[in-house]
């Protein structure tokens, strides 16, 4: 029994992180109409940037290092849009997809050049967790849940209470109409990249806190975020949130039946199934 509870808890934990990735990915999709396959690299760079500012020569404490890590990840997101995606905006989706893959390779290999391919950690000692209703949880894991809740609340407030967030929803509804209404589309697109990159950075850091850092961490989690947005309906921010949590739960509950080594295949399997059964999900919820 406690084993099942523990699996559910672990699933929620992983799901929180996938949800953060998926929400950012789906936002960019809704506004710009393409899947940013370099989103995983924002996740990975976010995590490594924190590692950078916590290590030589900075030695900032975690909460201080968070600020430049967030800032530079956002700059990276804005930069990839400005340098690569913006000039390609009027081309077709395939061009954007290939370009995103190109950026992804570039950034992944860049990180590998700096930090090497070996696993790294932030170097917090692992404390024994508390036990609560037969579930063991560590301080890191509590932080993951709290940080995710915080992010969800911030995203909600931005989208539904701030004028720029409302403009972002308007642009994702209808870009042409937004332009003739007087909404500054360029500003709104920049705002979308900022939110998306910040969510990737926070998610990446939480993931690295729970597991470790590795240049390939972005790619594998991008796939899971992608599965989550397919599940939640492409372009639907709250759908992405539930999709992420669902994938996390499914993966961790699957461990009850199959070997842990195959855990990653759950998200892939779901994605393949979804695309086979409902190929139209890729065209989004706009129709």
């Amino acid at each position: 029994m406690s084993y099942i509870l523990q699996s559910i808890f672990n699933g929620l934990l992983a799901g929180c992180i996938y949800a953060l990735f998926a929400m950012g990915l789906t936002m960019v999709y809704r506004v710009l109409n393409f899947v940013n396959f370099a989103h995983g690299e924002l996740i990975m760079w976010g995590a490594y940037l924190l590692y950078l500012f916590m290590g030589d020569p900075f030695h900032f404490p975690l909460y201080v290092a968070l600020i430049p890590a967030l800032g530079f990840t956002i700059l990276l997101g804005l930069g990839m849009d400005w340098i690569v995606f913006k000039p390609l905006r009027r081309t077709n989706r395939l061009t954007l997809l290939i370009a995103a893959l190109g950026i992804s390779f570039f950034l992944r290999n860049g990180a590998q050049l700096f930090w090497g391919a070996e696993l790294r950690t932030y170097g917090f000692e692992i404390k024994r967790g508390w036990r609560l209703f037969h579930i063991s949880m560590t301080a890191n894991q509590m932080a993951i849940i709290l940080a995710t809740l915080g992010c969800i609340i911030i995203v909600y407030l931005l989208l539904y209470r701030s004028i720029i967030g409302k403009a972002m929803r308007a642009v994702s509804d209808n870009l042409e109409l937004a332009r003739v209404t007087g909404i500054n589309a360029k500003k709104t697109i920049r705002f979308t990249w900022i939110i998306s990159s910040a969510l990737a950075c926070v998610g990446g850091i939480l993931l690295a806190l729970d597991t470790n850092l590795q240049p390939g961490m972005g790619m594998i989690n991008l796939v899971k975020a992608f599965a989550a947005i397919l599940l939640g309906g492409v372009g639907n921010v709250w759908g992405a949130l539930w999709g992420g949590i669902f994938i996390g739960l499914a993966e961790n509950l699957s461990v009850l039946f199959i070997s842990t080594g195959y855990k990653d295949s759950i998200a892939f399997g779901m994605m393949v199934l979804l695309l086979l059964l409902r190929p139209r999900v890729l065209y989004g919820s706009q129709e």
């Binding site: 403009a167 929803r169 308007a170 042409e176 109409l177 007087g182």
Partner: protein, 238 residues
């Protein structure tokens, strides 16, 4: 001829390699309602999109209030005071009625002005106030059209381009729509209206044009076209 507020002269335009307008000209004088009618595919919507800047003309000249706007972006034209209400999808469906109106005033520097304008809209269109918290996508067709016009009015436009305001609406609702259009015009705003169901629009219009296959075909007063035998036969189905 009277001085023109909007002048479109010999404009060619289209989508990519497909040219839709092959030299269209028209004028709108201050305080005038001008109607453009024509069959499907005659380029009516393309004409409005070209004026507002969503499509760039390949040749020709567009002038608004004395300055050339042929190659301006839509955002700049909105700033100049041109409001464009597209056909069909002219509201933000996932935003509430209130949020739709807030978007209408987003380019105003003074947010108090936007709030006042929304207050005025509540008085003018009580139905919108009643529904301010619901998603605009779930409004009826007529309410959507009213919302679109109300949103455009927030910026106090100096010219309104209306694309098929009556499409898909019940006759009674169309009457109401034209009542609102007429009121806007009486307040001094010139309108350029594109319509396929032409009778109602022609009755209201000071002047009207018939467009056919991307070219000017006829031009007259609204009354004149309404009584024109060819127009009656071809476009009014009589």
């Amino acid at each position: 001829m009277t001085e023109s507020f909007l002048e479109v002269r010999d404009v060619y335009s289209g989508y990519g390699k497909i040219e839709v307008l092959h030299g269209v000209s028209l004028t709108v004088a201050p305080k005038e309602i001008v109607c453009v009618i024509g069959p499907n595919g005659s380029g009516k919507s393309t004409l409005l999109k070209t004026i507002v800047g969503l499509i760039q003309p390949t040749r020709g000249f567009i002038q608004f209030d004395g300055s050339e706007i042929s190659h301006k972006e839509p955002e700049e034209n909105v700033e100049l005071g041109i409001a464009y209400i597209p056909q069909g999808k002219n509201i933000f469906p996932s935003l509430t009625v209130m949020e739709n109106l807030e978007m209408g005033g987003i380019s105003l520097k003074d947010s108090r002005k936007a709030r006042n304008a929304i207050q005025e809209i509540w008085e003018r269109y009580p139905i919108l106030q009643k529904r301010r918290k619901i998603k605009a996508g779930s409004l009826s067709g007529g309410e959507k059209q009213v919302l679109a016009m109300a949103r455009a009015s927030i910026l106090q436009p100096r010219l309104i381009l209306l694309d098929e305001p009556s499409i898909g609406l019940a006759p009674k609702v169309i009457d109401e729509m034209y009542h609102h259009i007429n009121r806007m015009n009486r307040e001094g705003i010139p309108l350029l209206i594109v319509e396929q169901n032409a009778r109602k629009a022609l009755r209201l219009a000071h002047r009207a044009y018939v467009l056919d296959l991307g070219r000017n075909r006829l031009e007259d007063t609204g009354e004149g076209l309404l009584n024109n035998e060819e127009v009656q036969h071809l476009y009014l189905g009589r």
